[in-house]
Point group: C2
Chain length 416, copies 2
């Protein structure tokens, strides 16, 4: 159960709202944008068949190593961090090879035994330099040549059909799962990119897809005016409010915030049809921690931010603050006998009220409990909101031309 509320006045007319519904319908029906259909794809069945046939338990697989960067890792990271305290999570260790930082690579592989590990190489283009370099390193480090049975039995590839990596997989008979061509990396977590590792960690990925489907269906049934209004407000006020803060009240949202930052920043930071630089800057913060950090800037700094509060109603764990009175600290006794759950809940409400009192545009997302269904819902919520903003900004939400220049310069640096 997820409740949503806007504390600012929606401004789009019925016609403008309908135009956004139509635009996203057109994206879906023209097959130009593929993420809308991921909740109904048959990929999960294929993955379940693969997992059953491979028999990971019998093979003693203890580590799932995801080799990927950006859209190939952030979504899985976000969902695992949200769900890792739920009973579904099995004991397998999840390891990411993401940055090309030598210290980090060494630390991440410390103690990893090849025979106990399953490696998932993820690259939409198939030739991401960070990811291919990691795999080359693994080949050398574990003495597992790419044509060997050793390699074949411990790797899967996730990539676009027809990519160089797809061709390699076919040549050497490594299982390959495809990312639909019309699904961009940052919109791919509900494809094999997220479904393979997350299913291997024990999660109910079927419920994840169901949660996503429920909001998607509601949207295309045109019951989500509140979502369209929010996107419209953000896009039309982008010069007044160039920064959109996501203030999540649970530590488990830290990686979700990072996923949001990529989705939002890379989708909306664009040159529009008139050649103008547009977009909004995403910032993710965590309550109550960042009440002691970013909050002062929100309250007294420039009025250039919108704020979305994420509140968790049921943490599925309750801890009491005992009725202990510390000499000289009696003024803190007002929380005695209450739970930490009540404290973080009250902090969220109090902070939200103090921000609203400043006249800042706030909305709230209240999540019953953090489970796979609700996480799927939150994923598609932000994906749809991104598409809506992109529509109102008049940009191509789904490309990322700005990063190509750096890639070209990089190659030149190795020529000299």
């Amino acid at each position: 159960m997820i409740k949503r509320e806007l504390f600012f006045e929606p401004e789009a007319s019925a016609e403008v709202v309908n135009e956004a519904y139509r635009a996203l319908e057109e994206e879906m029906q023209s097959e130009r944008v593929g993420y809308y259909k991921l909740p109904e794809s048959d990929m999960l069945s294929k993955i379940e068949d693969f997992i059953a046939a491979y028999d990971f338990d019998a093979k003693g697989i203890k580590n799932i190593v995801v080799i990927g960067i950006g859209g190939s890792s952030l979504g899985t990271r976000a969902i695992d961090a949200l769900l890792c305290h739920t009973p579904q999570r099995n004991g397998r260790k999840l390891i990411f090879l993401e940055n090309v930082d030598p210290v980090e690579i060494k630390t991440n592989l410390d103690g990893v035994v090849f025979e106990e590990s399953f490696f998932i190489m993820i690259s939409k283009s198939g030739s991401t330099i960070e990811t291919t370099s990691h795999v080359k390193y693994l080949i050398g480090h574990f003495h597992a040549p790419v044509e060997s049975e050793k390699f074949r039995n411990h790797f899967a590839f996730i990539t676009d059909e027809g990519s160089p990596l797809d061709l390699l997989g076919k040549d050497i008979k490594v299982p390959v799962f495809h990312i639909p061509h019309n699904v961009g990396g940052r919109f791919s977590v509900l494809s094999a990119v997220g479904l393979l590792p997350l299913t291997l960690l024990g999660y109910d990925t079927r419920a994840l897809l169901e949660g996503a489907k429920s909001l998607k269906d509601s949207f295309f049934a045109r019951n989500e005016d509140i979502l369209v209004q929010k996107g419209h407000y953000y896009a039309t006020h982008r010069e007044t409010f160039p920064i959109n803060v996501l203030f999540s009240y649970a530590s488990a949202f830290t990686a979700f915030n990072a996923w949001y930052v990529q989705l939002w920043g890379e989708s909306l930071g664009k040159i529009d049809r008139e050649g103008k630089h547009v977009g909004m800057t995403p910032v993710g913060i965590i309550g109550s921690i960042d009440q002691h950090s970013f909050l002062q800037l929100l309250i007294e700094g420039p009025r250039d931010k919108t704020v979305t509060m994420i509140k968790v109603v049921d943490f599925q764990t309750e801890l009491q603050i005992p009725d202990v009175s510390l000499p000289h600290l009696e003024k803190t006794d007002y929380v005695n006998g209450h739970s930490f759950n009540k404290l973080i809940d009250a902090e969220c409400d109090a902070t939200m009220e103090s921000i609203i009192q400043q006249g800042i545009s706030v909305d709230k997302i209240e999540i019953g409990k953090i489970d796979a269904y609700n996480v799927g819902y939150m994923i598609i919520y932000y994906e749809l909101l991104t598409s809506i903003c992109g529509h109102f900004l008049g940009i191509d939400t789904y490309n990322q031309p700005g990063v190509e220049l750096g890639k070209r310069i990089l190659k030149e640096k190795f020529k000299s």
Copy 2:
């Protein structure tokens, strides 16, 4: 060795630069602002005496538990994350009780044995509600009443002299280390707040202070025009560039980025003398990971950001990318036989060049290697830069009045 370079044109006249030197000197000499003197304080000697007398090894202390939030935890977190791969780091586990999230508290204390743990409760005011609640929970959870020998032998307090926590410590004979009154939480990492836990983890905290002292001395000898120019540029262009991005090319900087966000946001987000909301929004990102996330927004999004690149020259670990050519992926072979060190280095340079080509205001900080001395230097670098910006913004850099409203509302929520 740390080198710094601005890729934008400094704009302050010699007189304006001197005015900034004078303003910070006045802050230091008037004793209004205390962090400038932390590198020369005798606190570290006191801490070393305490550690020698307590004999942590003989007592079998395996866990250092820091109970604190915001300025009481972010600095220690940042420095430990930067240095934890260096040989000085001993095997003790560092645990933070920070958020009041019940799931996180439970996870953090999982497997923690009281007798093997030393708890450092940190609160400048002495009555931070998150921190006092955590300590009450520990008292109940471990059956260690506050007046007991058990409690006394496993706790230290760090707080202001005369605070309620200081009075409690004196009553129950728990060792107390003081934060100078004129050192704010977010400027306190070089006080006992950071020095006690970091020394207990084996770090050369004396070198940390020396690194800080070297830049501070250089600044007050008026040899740091480049630093003043940067602060002046940021402050005077705050309406054009309301966002200051710190783009650090090493995963170890993730927590340092978070420390920067608090320092910058909470210090500079203020109502100025004329009643105007001023300040700049800090954003911390990590290379090469965020080339696949935030970079698109930097390159094509609104021109509202400055960028500081942090580059590490010597990772003190070298990893080679083997000369492995993968069929169909031959176009990635340009990195073969090179090191990951060279790759991340070249990615940093290539990204920086691509950003500069966009006309974005960039500067670079190049760190020889990440050691205690250079980390101390980086800490005071950002503290001084913050003070300089605050001077040019005409604000009180050292208070945080904006967070009080939320605290008042919170208390009311427990009355009903």
